[in-house]
Amino acid sequence: MDFTLGDRSEAFRVEVREFLAEHVTPQVLARTHATGTVHDWDLHRALAAKGWLGAGWPVEYGGQGRDPWEMRVFVEECAAADAPTDGLSMTMVANTLRVVGTEAQKLDILPRVLAGEVLISLGYSEPGAGSDVAAAATTATRDGDDWVVDGEKVFTSMAHEAQYVFLLTRTNHEVAKHRGLTMFLVPTDAPGLRVEPMWTLGAPGRTNRTFYDGVRVPDALRVGEIDGGWAVMNVALTFERGGTMAAVRALDATVSWASRLRDAQTRAPIEDPDVRRRLARVAIDNELARLLSLRTTWVAAKGGLPGVEGSMAKLAASESVQRSTADLMDLLGADGVLDESEADAPAGGAVEYAWRKAAVATLYGGSSEIMRGIIAERHLGLPRTRS
């Protein structure tokens, strides 16, 4: 047994932490919280200059070839700094292109992604196709060398900043739903494509609806085979790393808050046995979530595909971050409702912010209900209930 992440990873951690301390300034954080766009182009280009947009990519594709442990440390530090990395996380799609894209697509797009010039938004969900994503109804119809796209997507996060949408479309109505799907890279400046904001409770504060009205896409921007979109999506999913973190920042913020005496108090909240028990419970849940996530990295580092392990890590972290932030906010008492715009918000409003953000954790990247179904079927061997 060994629960350390290795000297190389820890050295990288120091480097990442120093970089983030310099670039993730209070101004950057204030701006991302105010706009709801969890992305900052200056930070993104600075990451590109370090070579970190492709930190985990193979060297032959312009990456740094860092191992899963270094990449994990990178994600941990970004989360600890609350760094606005929604743009960074989109390199996942580019990773998919590396595997299934054409040579022309790779030559055209991958260097621009690594240079921090191009973002690719995910266009999977639709008003009628959420967890059942293979039910997508947005159509792509062949017309000469082009395809014509019509339909609507929801939760197209970052589409208002991105250069492309990685779009799941229906190209065949005659076959089973999984077999009639095709993926495209649709330029966001294409005529007929419209982006509308959807405002949310937390972070990101903004996602989008995108509308496609006779949008022409050249066949050269098709990714994978015609009607082979499901296979492409499955490649993309393998690059989706569980980015859900437990309530680490919120616990730290609450402990700091609880350790100080306030007006008219004779003892700090952390002297209160009830407060101590509740903080201790959050610490346990955080450690359990961290270990399940570490196991996912361990499986990946050994060359495996952490399918069920990833589902368990995601389920545990997202459920616990909701429980924990909710209880920590209660601990703050009446002042707990004050948000970070208030100068006297307890813990700087960090707990209230984390609580709002946590509401989406059990939804994105596969809802808790979907995760439980996967665990029940693939880990416990119980009968399949969905088709």
Binding site: F3, R276, E287, L382
Partner: protein, 343 residues
């Protein structure tokens, strides 16, 4: 990071699993009730060398925890956790292994030499272990055997708990192993090891209770289908297995830290104990519920697991108080230094 057992640890785990499959089937567990101790099984394990594993240099806490998982899964009616924690403590204090063919136990709660009679309530394995290690005021002592072992009160978990006297003529021979701060530190460390070993036993117990539930919901048909095809059933079991997997990792981390990262070990030991308690109770409760009315009957095995998941952790008192202990380790408070004899 490496989440696998070493070759020596895996050999030990596999060998005790084989031994227990043969000698500790559920019929033996039932026959050993209500005392919860099978002396024949103890002798089998002792002859196989299992009694000495606590002081084996090749195992350590990770290997012992792996073995405890196997014992916990089978509700094995012998006090391995107490014996290993106690013999490790004696070896750490004396620099020598204890020679005992019978179980040795660890008195978890320190006694106060100034104000009590040296009697401790409900010592785990107190009814079956002739020798006991205890922190009596300022002294870490090995006492016993008493003239007669006390009898065990009937209890939820069918555990061989009993009140023990660790001072005076009733207690038997008394050897002082350490004194002062050394004594307190050694004892606290042994209680933490006991926490990790019991967390492992509870993790194994919880895993087996889940397996019983999965087998049952696949077999049991209602409304024309296996009840395991209902999402209400599936989702509850998915939560149970996720919690159990997390606890397994935490138990391993706590065992690893005892040797590799001592500053983190005390907090991790308590975390593992609390998390294992909760996961085992959630698993047995789900298993009982999903067995339907049969789960409430004594003829089904799930009741054996349900009772022990409740009873084992209470050896350290109200589990909520474990959160106090954890908080004190994570966020230490300035507190008065205990005076001599305060324990």
């Amino acid at each position: 990071m490496d989440l696998e057992l070493s070759a020596a640890e895996e050999t030990a785990r596999a060998s005790i699993a084989t031994l227990l499959d043969e000698h500790s089937p559920v019929a033996v567990v039932r026959a050993a009730e209500p005392l919860g101790f099978d002396p024949v099984l103890w002798d089998v394990l002792f002859v196989a060398g299992v009694g000495d594993w606590g002081t084996s240099h090749s195992l350590g806490l990770v290997g012992l925890a792996a073995a405890m998982r196997e014992a916990g899964a089978r509700l094995t009616p012998v006090p391995l956790a107490e014996h290993w924690a106690a013999t490790r403590l004696v070896a750490a204090a004396e620099g020598a292994d204890i020679l005992a063919a019978d179980p040795v136990t660890l008195v978890l709660t320190p006694t106060d030499a100034g104000s009590d009679a040296g009697r401790t309530r409900l010592v785990p394995a107190g009814a079956v272990a002739p020798l006991a290690v205890a922190l009596d005021g300022n002294e870490l002592v090995l006492v016993g055997p008493p003239e007669a072992l006390p009898s065990s009160p009937h209890n939820t978990a069918s555990s061989p708990i009993a009140d023990r006297v660790i001072r005076g003529p009733e207690a038997g021979t008394r050897v002082v192993l350490a004194t002062g701060a050394d004594a307190r530190e050694l004892h606290a460390n042994a209680v933490d090891e006991w926490r990790v070993l019991n967390a492992a036993a509870l993790a194994g117990l919880g895993r087996r209770a889940l397996e019983l539930a999965v087998a049952y919901v696949l077999d049991r048909h209602q409304f024309g289908v296996a009840i395991g095809s209902f999402q209400a059933v599936q989702h509850r079991l998915a939560d149970v297995v996720t919690a159990l997997d997390a606890v397994d990792l935490l138990v391993d981390e706590a065992g690893w830290a005892a040797a590799a990262e001592p500053p983190r070990a005390p907090a991790l030991a308590v975390m593992a104990f609390v998390a294992a308690t909760e996961a085992a109770r959630a698993s047995t409760a789900a298993s009982l519920q999903l067995h339907g009315g049969y789960g409430y009957t004594l003829e089904r095995d799930v009741q054996l697991y349900y009772r022990r998941a409740k009873g084992w952790p209470l050896a350290l008192g109200d589990p909520a108080a474990q959160l106090d202990a954890l908080a004190d380790r994570l966020w230490p408070r300035a507190r008065p230094v205990p005076t001599t004899g305060a324990g």
